[in-house]
Symmetry: C2
């Protein structure tokens, strides 16, 4: 192997950085995860993550704009895949979403992490931008539930699928933020039914 | 006028306190309001309010369990009455609600105050209890929109009006907390329509 000059070596490091070296990125995420699990959110800082991952703070900042963005990645990695399912009906998909998200928030520390992120986003502009971009991604993902329904002819062609996704997310956020997670499957089915079928009396 | 003994005087003060002397309570609320208006939420503390209202901190704590409860009272005093209207139809009431709440949050400092309260409630147990009790009151109030609809025969008798109120609140909270207040009346009408009429294709 030919030895690199200092300049070539620097060039190589930069290009590895630009390609997002998966080892280092993975090491950072694992360190972040371990800190949340062991010390809770109170012990979480870019400094602590850098130390644990043996990475430089600038390396972390190259990939994540701040603490909240990194925390959201940790949060999202642990979100179970069954939050978004294709059950064949919109009501079934919404029930599956409620079941998975409330169980995830209630049974792991994930609910606490997400509450913390929402709180940070109300006071800090960088955190607000991170939450907004995360919510935009989820809005697209949940929107697919309603887009599939429109494509099947199950839902009206003139609905706004983004607004439907906001209604879905808003309902679960509100319950989380006021400490009223739903555990009762009957209540979840009723909420899904009202979201999809509406509230009108038969024939109205 | 007969002079009171120290004991009688103390007794009298306590009974005035128990009756919630409206002058002092009003003075405290006005002081709290002035601090929020002049210094913003950052300058808001029970200490600052006590000083401005020339009241003792124990007097404030007798009526409000903490800073968040007092802030919520200030917030609620400024909420315009037209947030809850009886327009004769549920969809009309929901459009009126969206119109009034988004305008209030966007045009005054109220949106910032409410975001701050929600953030506090994610980290502090007393703040969480205050927000929860406030949300319970609002849930009852907004629930009346849907109860009137059921009473008129407009809405199905088997809907859960509390879940409908949660869906309404969740939608507007989510938009506030992600910095996406709605200003477009067409979008508000579409959201109200979807909440009340649901998403199903005609005939489904």
């Amino acid at each position: 192997m030919t030895e690199l000059t200092a300049d070539e070596s620097e060039e190589r490091r930069r290009s590895i950085g630009a390609r997002r070296n998966p080892d280092t990125q993975e090491a950072i995420l694992e360190a972040a995860e371990a800190i949340v699990a062991e010390e809770g959110i109170a012990g979480f800082s870019i400094e602590a993550v850098a130390k644990r991952a043996r990475a430089g703070k600038p390396t972390i900042y190259k990939w994540w704009p701040g603490k909240t963005a990194l925390l959201l990645d940790v949060y999202h990695r642990h979100k179970p895949a069954n939050v978004h399912q294709d059950t064949g009906t919109v009501e079934g998909d919404v029930v599956a979403f409620f079941t998975a998200i409330f169980a995830h928030w209630g049974n792991t520390g994930a609910g606490q992490v997400f509450r913390f992120v929402v709180a940070e986003a109300q006071r800090d502009e960088a955190a607000a931008a991170s939450l907004q971009s995360y919510a935009t991604e989820r809005r697209k993902q949940s929107g697919q539930i309603f887009e599939r329904g429109v494509a099947r002819g199950e839902l009206a062609a003139d609905i706004d699928t983004g607004l439907a996704a906001d209604m879905l997310a808003g309902f679960v956020w509100h319950r989380l933020l006021t400490g009223r997670l739903i555990g009762d499957p009957i209540e979840m089915r009723q909420a899904a039914r009202q979201l999809v079928r509406g509230l009108l009396a038969p024939g109205r």
